[in-house]
Amino acid sequence: MPMNYEQATAAYEPTLGLEVHVELNTKSKMFCSCATEFGAEPNTQTCPVCLGLPGSLPVVNAMAIESTILIGLALNCSIAPFSRFARKNYFYPDMPKNFQTSQYDEPICVDGYLDVEIETDEGPKTFRVDIERVHMEEDTGKSLHVGGSTGRIHGAEYSLLDYNRAGIPLVEIVTRIVPGTGKYAPLVARAYVTELRDILRSLGVSDVKMEQGSLRCDVNLSLAPIGSDKLGTRSETKNVNSLRSVERAVSGEFVRQANRLESGERIVQETRHFLEESGETRPGRSKETAEDYRYFPEPDLVPVTPDADWIEELRKSLPEKPSLRRKRLQEEWNVPAKEMESMVNAELLDVVEETVKLGADATRARSWWLGEVSRLANEKEVAPTTLINANQVAEVIALIVTGELTDKLARQVVEGVINGEGTPREVIDKRGLKVVSDDSALMIAIEAAIAAQPDTAERVRGGNLPAAGALIGAVMKATGGQADAAKVRELLLKHLGQS
């Protein structure tokens, strides 16, 4: 009977380590002036440098250096006064020069940390994740495997290469091992990547789109029996392409390793690949016979020695830390922690803030994004922000506030916008959804209601305000529900001398 997660965490202590690769969103590549546009036609963003043509030479993109220093500062790192690129030599067809220009023993940022908070059985708890290094390198090209039975790399008949991605700047952020996470290892891993992603987004240095590969996470995990002071053999799980997958990769690997150890097998030091469908990992290349990368200082590039003024300038430009920003917004908006958390988890904090900045009140902005928009997004299995933008939601909310739309009508407007029927205004016009707010039109309906129920009207005139409900109901019915009830009430009471 294999162990489940609970049994595994009761018997083994995990040691976690995370390597995150971030594609920077510079306009041009790391070492050449080719564009970095995602999704361009194959091999249209290639030149002698990023194709590794004989004779070509790299020149470092200043913006990539600046972005990397910003990341280092945001992660509380020291910025090295002297750093250097090195060549990491190994053969792979994706990699035009058959070496990766990377940083090795002289990275640009070292010794930082990131505090992450998770919910535990005993309440919120903060884990400090130490950052060993932040360094720069270049991405590889992309291969397409053609033929063969599985469509996977094994059994392909041949491969096709597109080097558009080759040379896009990558920043690699490597943690030290995170000890003592116990059964919370998956949550700590997820919280770390989430916080890191939020920081990178707030710095504006990357698109941080895990689904497009601009943020990629490798999970290193090893287990040791609880109480033992030995470190286990680690596996390195690659291809973890969503926050949820980070959590699942850790828990899946936890269970797999625990079961192997339990049945007396040893853990192989290897690269494993995360399988999105099953949440399991499958073995990749064994690292038992470690590649010898023959690192040496890149002779085609010169050292990077950022001066202190530049670093201080960059430090001053650092934006508010996302975790602090969340605390501030929670206070400003006066929302419970749980609500804040659901906004963060749904990745809607930015768009809600943007909506609020456009004039919407926080409560309405939050409830529209988390409620109706999220519901529709769920149905379509896409991110809410891909359906509708902050401007459109803010406009709908403004129309509710001015009484031009009721909540019910607003839902139809939002649905129309999402269905591609145009802007909120256009949807209102096309669907004829406008609230009857024209006073004279409403007054006709109000007078008709009073004429139909004279006794009720008399009671209202005498100060029995609750009695007005029946008259309002009649007006609403007469206008087919398109009137704004509050407006009807206001006009009715005024007409009956009660306001």
Binding site: C47, P48, L51, G52, L53, P54, G55, S56, L57, P58, V59, V60, R87, N89, F91, P93, P96, K97, N98, F99, E157, S159, L161, D292, R294, Y295, F296, P299, D300, L301, V302
Partner: protein
């Protein structure tokens, strides 16, 4: 009237005086190439059409009255290690057979901008690894002084083209002596500029931290004219020096060394140096004293380790630089029979595509960079490099330039040393320290060795970015020798059979 035996400066004057057109001058050289290159084999590719088109353009440019370079319309032979757009660039290797680069090296761009006419690509040791041009995959080049002898290497093709009057100007590249040693054994002039003085962009890398392109010609002034065309800062080469180019043409016209201190390097003489080489070197020193220079002896005690350090650093960098020749993106592909994967095809291609010397150095370099050997070999070699720089710094405190014979012997017989790599490596004992320290070096002919009647080279070395001193001393010595001999040294070379 100008002819192929004229200097480039004379050709330039004749072009300016409209005594001859560039098309006529170019045709004379193309005719000479077809007449003698069957025996010399200086060229791997003659770009007849391209050269005549460039010559025509140069004539038109001159006719337009626009400001032009002194070398506009003068023909040149280009070492096949520099990328020229659309023109075969093989580096003397089978690996690149048929490759036509889609871009120009910066040297070629500058030549084209100056209106210099590129006749074709010259033979060389494969990927510039060698001292005899015997390592070319396309057969050896023969020394015009004696067709059974080597023309030096790796730039034997460029030097032989000059000595055979197939071109008045040539481009070489010098990693450990590949411009200067061929110049010495063919009775021509060659300069390795300060590292970073001429852009390496488009120079197919052998050893990135040592490679430097430079001018070759039959006189010091011609060399200086070409130097000023190709030198200067290039933003595409990170190791390019962002300073004004030394005034080398003015220096070559100065013909005055009064008060200059000329340091004779004690370690670059004596055992291993052919007696006729030492004799001609001594006589040249006497001429410099007569011209008003002061001779001082300097000691560079670490030079005896230079060769060993070079044969670690150069192969190490080469092992990485040549990794890109893997048959995936350009060059030949061997053994892709549909049954094996990319890695096996790489292995097969590199087995047959590289010659023995290249493979020897790749394996040596791979070894020197391997973990476990790095510190003892590559690391130690880099420390020796520091010591060599320090030797030069101390020596340049005592002398304005340093001098030595360019190589220990005159040209040896083709095949004589091909089975003994260590003996072959000794050819570069006097030229290598210059590359290791990044300083400038020149070789000019200083006579024929009495015992074999073959040319002897005189080497001048100058501090970083003081390349003008090479020309000042070189031109003065050249003038003194010329007045002693009554005719240029090359006038003593045997007539080549015209076919």
């Amino acid at each position: 009237m100008t002819n192929i035996h004229s200097t480039a400066a004379q050709m330039s004057a004749a072009l300016a005086a409209k005594e001859i057109s560039s098309v006529e001058l170019t045709q004379q050289h193309l005719d000479r190439i077809s007449a003698v290159d069957g025996d010399v084999h200086a060229f791997l590719y003659v770009d007849t059409e391209g050269a005549l088109a460039q010559a025509k353009a140069a004539d038109e440019l001159r006719a337009s009255g626009k400001e032009i370079s002194p070398l506009t319309g003068v023909p040149l032979a280009l070492k096949d290690v520099l990328a020229q757009k659309g023109v075969p660039t093989t580096c003397g290797s089978k690996m690149l057979e048929g490759w036509r680069p889609p871009y120009d090296s910066t040297v070629v761009t500058k030549l084209k901008e100056a209106g210099v006419v590129i006749l074709g690509k010259t033979n060389m040791d494969e990927f510039a690894m060698g001292s005899s041009t015997e390592n070319s995959a396309y057969g050896p080049t023969h020394n015009p002084w004696d067709l059974t002898r080597i023309p030096g290497g790796s730039g034997g093709g460029s030097a032989a083209a000059l000595a055979a009057f197939e071109a008045p100007l040539a481009i070489g590249t010098d990693t450990g002596g590949s411009i200067r040693q061929p110049a010495a054994v063919t009775g021509t002039v060659g300069v390795k500029p300060t590292y970073g003085g001429v852009s390496r962009y488009g120079l197919v890398a052998f050893s990135s931290s040592l490679d430097q392109a430079g001018p070759c010609a039959r006189t010091v002034l011609d060399t200086a004219l070409l130097h000023e065309v190709i030198a200067g800062h290039d933003e595409r080469d990170s190791t390019s020096i962002n300073q004004l180019v030394p005034q080398v043409v003015a220096a070559a016209k100065k013909l005055d060394v009064k008060g200059m201190k000329i340091g004779v390097v004690k370690e670059l003489s004596g055992e291993g140096y052919q007696s006729g080489v030492s004799q001609r070197f001594q006589e040249s020193l006497d001429l410099l004293v007569e011209a008003g220079a002061e001779i001082v002896e300097v000691s560079c005690p670490n030079f005896e380790y230079a060769l060993a350090a070079y044969y670690l650093i150069a192969p190490s960098e080469a092992s990485s630089n040549l990794a890109r020749f893997d048959s995936m993106r350009y060059g030949i592909r061997i053994g892709d029979d549909g049954t094996v994967g990319a890695e096996e095809v790489m292995r097969r291609t590199r087995h047959l595509g590289f010659g023995p010397e290249v493979k020897r150095r790749i394996i040596l370099g791979t070894y020197a960079l391997s973990s476990g050997y790095y510190d003892a070999y590559y690391g130690s070699a880099q420390k020796v490099r520091t010591l060599l720089k320090q030797d030069y710094e101390r020596a340049f405190e005592k002398a304005d330039v340093l001098v030595s014979p360019t190589c220990p012997t005159t040209a040896f017989k083709i095949g004589e040393k091909s089975d003994d790599p260590l003996a072959m490596y000794l050819n570069d004992v006097a030229t290598i320290p210059v590359n290791m320290a990044g300083i400038g070096g020149m070789s000019l002919p200083c006579g024929l060795a009495p015992e074999d009647g073959l040319p002897v080279g005189f080497q001048i070395m100058s501090p970083v970015m003081q390349d003008d001193r090479l020309y000042r001393v070189g031109a003065t010595l050249e003038a003194a020798l010329l007045s002693k001999w009554g005719k240029p040294l090359l006038a003593n070379a045997p007539e080549l059979a015209v076919r």
